[in-house]
Symmetry: C2
């Protein structure tokens, strides 16, 4: 959820390696995507004498969630290209916790790093957003991103009646859709320049599926509506101002499969004209790991104690940032505690249907 290269400077994921520990679900998504990535590598038909294999992991947060998948990619490429040197370029926005990322990759974090198994790997870290060029033209073999590209460069407007575009209507929805289109094309155009011919992107992005499902809304309790209901309660009880309510608009857009596909299949699109082609797209739901565990253990407290931190890890900084800075920081922090406390209580009171199922579109893209 929180793998991101954002938009707003002050949006940050949990740091210090806590992100990977708190977002087990985001890690599951990447683990399950590993086969797609390995198939993409297979399809490249790399020459045995390949000197350098360059890979991007865009919006990597602390890097913990993709360690296993990247290890598999290196292992696979080494089999075909025994002399290849690997540039693995991790990217995230400049306010990301790069200390946690660097230590994770260099084996000083909570997980084992693939660096212990391979000699020819050169990890590199970039703070250039995926909305910008990250490396030289014609240099990237494989681009990967998971659960990151829903973060817009900026929100096109604040929403009057909801915290997320999934609840937007009318003009506001149109504005978000336009921003989403521009930003998606910009990401693809930048990657198109960087990919070598035959290079591939595997992009695992939050989206809205054919049934209208999206993150935290798989026809149980709608997570985003719950965020909004509680935020609205805080407004009605005078705990936040109208301005603060409205300012809490997530700078995100969830594309549909059609929106994701359009620039890659429409011959009139500059993305298509740059040489990018859609190889495959499909949607998939990865169940909320905490709701799944709850089905087994049935302990409501345990469920709430595991579930609330996973949603906090990616949106706490945004709720906090919506509050007026004229209020002392300590009071703002107390209010945010109370906000998640209310959500926590709702889960305790009626746990059924809560959960953050992951709804992703899986895109395979080739540079011809």
């Amino acid at each position: 959820m929180a793998r991101q290269t954002s938009a707003a400077q002050h949006i940050t994921m949990s740091g210090g390696g806590a992100y990977s520990l708190a977002t087990k679900g985001a890690g599951d998504v990447i683990t399950l995507a590993a086969d797609l990535v390995l198939n993409a590598v297979e399809a490249m038909k790399l020459p045995p004498e390949l000197p350098v294999f360059q890979m991007l992991d865009m919006g990597c947060a602390d890097g913990g969630t993709s360690l296993g998948m990247i290890g598999k990619v290196i292992e696979r490429v080494e089999k075909t290209c025994p002399d290849a040197v690997f540039n693995i370029i991790y990217t995230d926005q400049p306010r990301n916790d790069f200390n946690a990322l660097v230590q994770m990759i260099h084996g000083l974090g909570p997980f084992e790093s693939y660096l212990e198994r391979f000699q020819n790997v050169r990890p590199l870290f970039s703070a250039s957003s995926f909305y910008l060029p990250i490396c030289p033209p014609n240099s990237v073999n494989l681009g990967f991103s998971a659960t990151a590209m829903h973060w817009l460069r900026q929100k096109p407007c604040d929403l009057e009646n909801h915290v997320h575009m999934v609840g937007a209507t009318g003009d506001a929805l149109v504005k978000f859709a336009e921003q989403g289109k521009r930003d998606w094309e910009r990401i693809l155009l930048n990657r198109s320049k960087e990919l070598v011919s035959g290079g591939r992107l595997v992009l695992v992005n939050f989206g809205r599926d054919e049934e209208g499902r999206y993150l935290g809304n798989t026809f149980g309790v709608n997570m985003f509506d719950t965020f909004n209901e509680i935020w609205n309660e805080f407004l009605e009880n005078g705990r936040i101002s109208r301005e603060e309510y409205v300012r809490m608009t997530l700078p995100q857009y969830y594309n549909t499969v059609e929106e994701f596909s359009a620039p890659l299949t429409d011959p009139a699109s500059p993305v298509y004209q740059s040489g990018l082609r859609l190889v495959d797209v499909h949607t998939r739901i990865v169940p909320c790991p905490f709701a799944e565990e709850f089905k087994t253990h049935g302990n409501v407290k345990r469920f709430a104690n595991a579930y609330i931190p996973t949603i906090r890890s990616w949106n706490q900084s945004i709720f906090l940032g919506a509050l007026d800075e004229s209020c002392p920081l300590e009071e703002r922090q107390e209010l945010i505690e109370s906000y998640y406390g209310t959500y926590h209580q709702r889960v305790l009171d009626a746990p059924e249907g809560h959960g953050m199922d992951y709804v992703h579109a899986y895109l395979i893209v080739e540079k011809i």
Copy 2:
């Protein structure tokens, strides 16, 4: 002083951008080396159609001290190679403060970044030490390092009677010299593989000059002897144990000009055989900026208040690390405060001759 890729994991420079602010002298050294770097670029005779210019800044700490010099390099190369994309790879050890570094380079720190002036620059960050490969073979045009390569991979032994090899004698000195030789060759061999033919290194390294001068010992008060005298006082007063006294051995070696030159001029050396050649070497002293200012303002307190932080910024973590961990951290920190307090009082009592003049060897190396 503290630009480093170290040896011991727990040696760290001051973080949060404080390093560049505290070590004005280290910044002066790089500013003064800028002409050497620009001459090295000139001598490369880069082709106008060069697609990528890749530069390493090794042991960059928070990146603040080299911002200006790197901006000049980009400006110079762009004139000759208007289409070049710049990979500027900053390297330091995994426990460096990469958050401060990333924010410094991306213009969120205390200084203006060259990123605001140039479009085609792709900063990359590496936590691979300069004792390891950092990037693929045959890919680097320019390697730079300042005030970093005196940090050994490990200390070969503890010193019984001093804190630094400049005070070592006999077997201990031999062991340090051997470690220094191995480590210097290892750095050069790794860089030799990465440099393109015609590529250059500009290495500004602490050393011992023809007159026997070295950092903080330009025939005024000897800084390292002062460190040792006070540490020894602490031993004699029972404030530290003999083990703690001995453990405080800096993992550093200061090469002479001959030692720096040998592997680059001896046809039997594997470094020479790999294609590295010495273009130029000379030593230079950059006066301690705080001692220089003191000559003008004459205010002893002001001098001591400026001078002590500059020495603390690079060795505080090492003194702290020498103390026995069975003692509570708070007490250890108090002892270290008291240690620098004693040094501070010495400066107040007799300021004349104190200062940390920088004695560097400036090496220009070419890959044939």
